[in-house]
């Protein structure tokens, strides 16, 4: 039974952590860890019989031997990180970087806004929880352990997570990059990075979250990011999965949006073996807005599963969602998009669309829009299409001297570019365009 073995790994890691913590094992964070561990054991590792995990089979890799991350030497260097991030380093050079290696914040490898007012980065600690009311209220309540087995797992094991606070009214011009690294050079690692972002009233920030594996051993990265978007604040969150071919990532991003706040998310899946992203947005107060963009460009045996939830909890909120995918080889894509409109959420506007193109007979996509609407005075729509490339269009391009492969690349690139064009940060948009184009065998269209 791989589940039982995995539970043991988690329990042992938890015990390890408890010992290592000594005194603070009685603090509030560890109390939460205890509760989360219990919740994780209760929920169990999901199998494909579980509705939400129907296509995401985690059994093949939860049975592996994972070493306890605390044993691993802190040997990751700046150079290793630069190599793992590649071109993204120069793209985000003007910004700040919070580096997390095997779940632990690494100040020595980070570039932090030291003398800058408006944004601060701290390690999640009992002291912070005790002293900071906002952090206390947000941590573990934006992403709840009982809602998701891997949130529970992450909460049970997360230590040295990071809290990013954007102060009231601060419009951050530079992006903040959260570089999450799994160092699997010596042993298999199971990492549990944990991020809390608090964007206070009227603030604005671009966050870029990336996950990179280094080394040839196996890494399983189970991360949770919680984002509290204050009233009138705007958080633009970007998650780029462009990792090693054999990497595995289970990520959970949750945001609550306060009055007239805005949360924009871009999830771009380019490379990695197994990518599961849950994105859960709670439009908690009047006038709040969510924009969800997603693109998957998969090939080979890649798997990417996007589960999104937009919960319209109150009246006069707005959400727009556009997810697209291109699937080649024997890759598998999943889109599950839930929209809840609660009875009191009158005057809701919620739009969702999801479009997929299969480039090969062996590729698969499973798309499921799920709108549950309990209010009557609302405007909601969803549209989903699944298709192959239009042969007529390919012939048209070929008749103009463009060979068949290039014609396909042009069309698939154009298909995905309609998602990427929503990325405001120019450098990041161009980076994504370039990566997507190169994966599709073309170059970004420039006119």
């Amino acid at each position: 039974m791989p589940q039982a073995a995995f539970n043991d790994v988690i329990k042992r890691s938890f015990d390890d952590l408890s010992k290592r913590l000594n005194g603070s094992a009685s603090g509030p964070l560890h109390k939460m860890r205890e509760a989360a561990l219990k919740s994780f054991i209760e929920q169990g590792v999901p199998t494909t019989r579980h509705e939400e995990w129907k296509y995401a089979n985690v059994l093949p890799f939860i049975g592996l031997e994972y070493s306890r991350v605390s044993e691993i030497a802190k040997s990751v260097t700046e150079k290793d990180i630069d190599e793992a991030l590649g071109e993204l380093v120069s793209v985000l050079e003007s910004g700040w970087r919070v580096t997390i290696v095997n779940g632990q914040f690494r100040g020595d490898l980070s570039y932090l806004p030291a003398a800058v007012t408006g944004v601060s980065v701290d390690v999640l600690s009992d002291k912070l929880i005790a002293n900071d009311e906002v952090v206390r209220a947000a941590y573990g309540s934006v992403a709840k352990s009982d809602a998701h087995p891997f949130v529970a797992m992450n909460t049970a094991l997360a230590c040295d997570g990071v809290v990013i606070r954007v102060a009231k009214g601060s419009e951050m011009k530079r992006p903040l990059h959260i570089a999450i690294i799994s160092d699997a050079r010596q042993v298999n690692v199971l990492t549990t990075p944990r991020i809390l972002i608090v964007a206070e009233e009227g603030s604005e920030i671009d966050i870029v979250e990336t996950h990179s594996t280094i080394g040839d051993q196996q890494a399983l990265d189970v991360s949770v990011s919680e984002i509290a978007v204050g009233s009138n604040a705007h958080v633009r969150f970007h998650k780029v999965a462009d990792d090693q071919d054999d990497s595995r990532h289970i990520g959970y991003t949750a945001a609550t949006v306060a009055r007239d706040g805005r949360f924009t998310s871009h999830c771009i899946n380019i490379a990695g073996n197994f990518i599961r992203n849950d994105l859960v947005i709670n439009l908690a107060d009047v006038g709040s807005q969510a924009y969800l963009y997603g693109a998957s460009v998969l090939g080979g045996v890649q798997f990417a599963d996007s589960h999104t939830v937009v919960d319209h909890a109150v009246n006069n909120c707005h959400s727009e969602e556009l997810y697209k995918g291109i699937y080649d080889g024997s890759s598998i894509g999943v889109f599950n998009g839930k929209i809840f409109v609660r009875p009191q959420a009158q005057k809701t506007t919620a739009y969702q669309s999801n479009h997929s193109v299969l480039l090969s007979d062996k590729a698969q996509v499973n798309a499921k829009p799920q709108l549950e609407i309990w209010a009557d005075d609302v405007k909601c729509s969803h549209g989903a299409t699944l298709g192959q490339l239009n042969d007529e269009a390919i012939f048209y391009l070929r008749s103009r001297g463009i060979d068949a492969d290039k014609a396909r690349a042009l069309m698939t690139y154009a298909f995905v570019a309609e998602v990427l064009e929503h990325i405001d940060h120019e450098g990041l948009r161009e980076f994504c365009e370039k990566r997507v184009a190169s994966k599709l065998g073309t170059e970004p269209l420039s006119l």
Binding site: R398, S399, R400, F415
Partner: protein, 255 residues
Amino acid sequence: MTPILQITDLTAGIEDREILKGVSLTVNPGEVHAIMGPNGSGKSTLASVLAGREEYAITGGTVVFRGNDLLELSPEDRARQGMFLAFQYPVEIPGVSTANFLKTSVNELRKFRGQEPLAPAVFLALMRERMKLVEMDQSFLSRSLNEGFSGGEKKRNEIFQMAMLEPILAVLDETDSGLDIDALRIVAGGVNALRTPTTATIIITHYQRLLDYIIPDVVHVLWDGRIVRSGGKELALELEKRGYDWIKQEAAEVA
């Protein structure tokens, strides 16, 4: 003088249905040929076979284009060697702007000829100049190719592409259909401006009207997969007056 195009006894069809039943046609440099004929007679099929549409099976005959076996070539290689088809129904291609599409296309043709890609500024200037030929507005450049274009706009865009690609042989399949009177004049003016002594044009049309503007050297009537009659430009006038029945009758008598 080597002909640009020489079709001999071409038979082609789809599945087990024969559509072209022995077409022969020679087009020399500098010439304009018109192909007329009733609906369903095989005009677009002939154009598609020339452009290389793969769903049509060639069952017999030969097509020589500039001295080479055309039927051996992929659609893209035909285009690179100077074949151009203005589609009867141009396809909409979402997300690919007209400008980007043309840049790719022009540079593919240049690459084939061993030329460097055009510098962006030069390319833009060329596009602006050639758009004027068909009086197309520059706003079309940034729009997705043919997407949401009106019928007439799509046809103009075909001729604009022709102006950009400078083909050796242009086959215009009902480019006049759906054009208003002014647009017809503009499009015809564009085609005439592109005529050279070394290139040729095949115009597929139902109406004499276009041929008032683009004077053909030869007019052919395609009926039931065969060219049953060829003549000078007066043949088009006669067809306009008398319809196709008399030709069908004559053809039936011969057969």
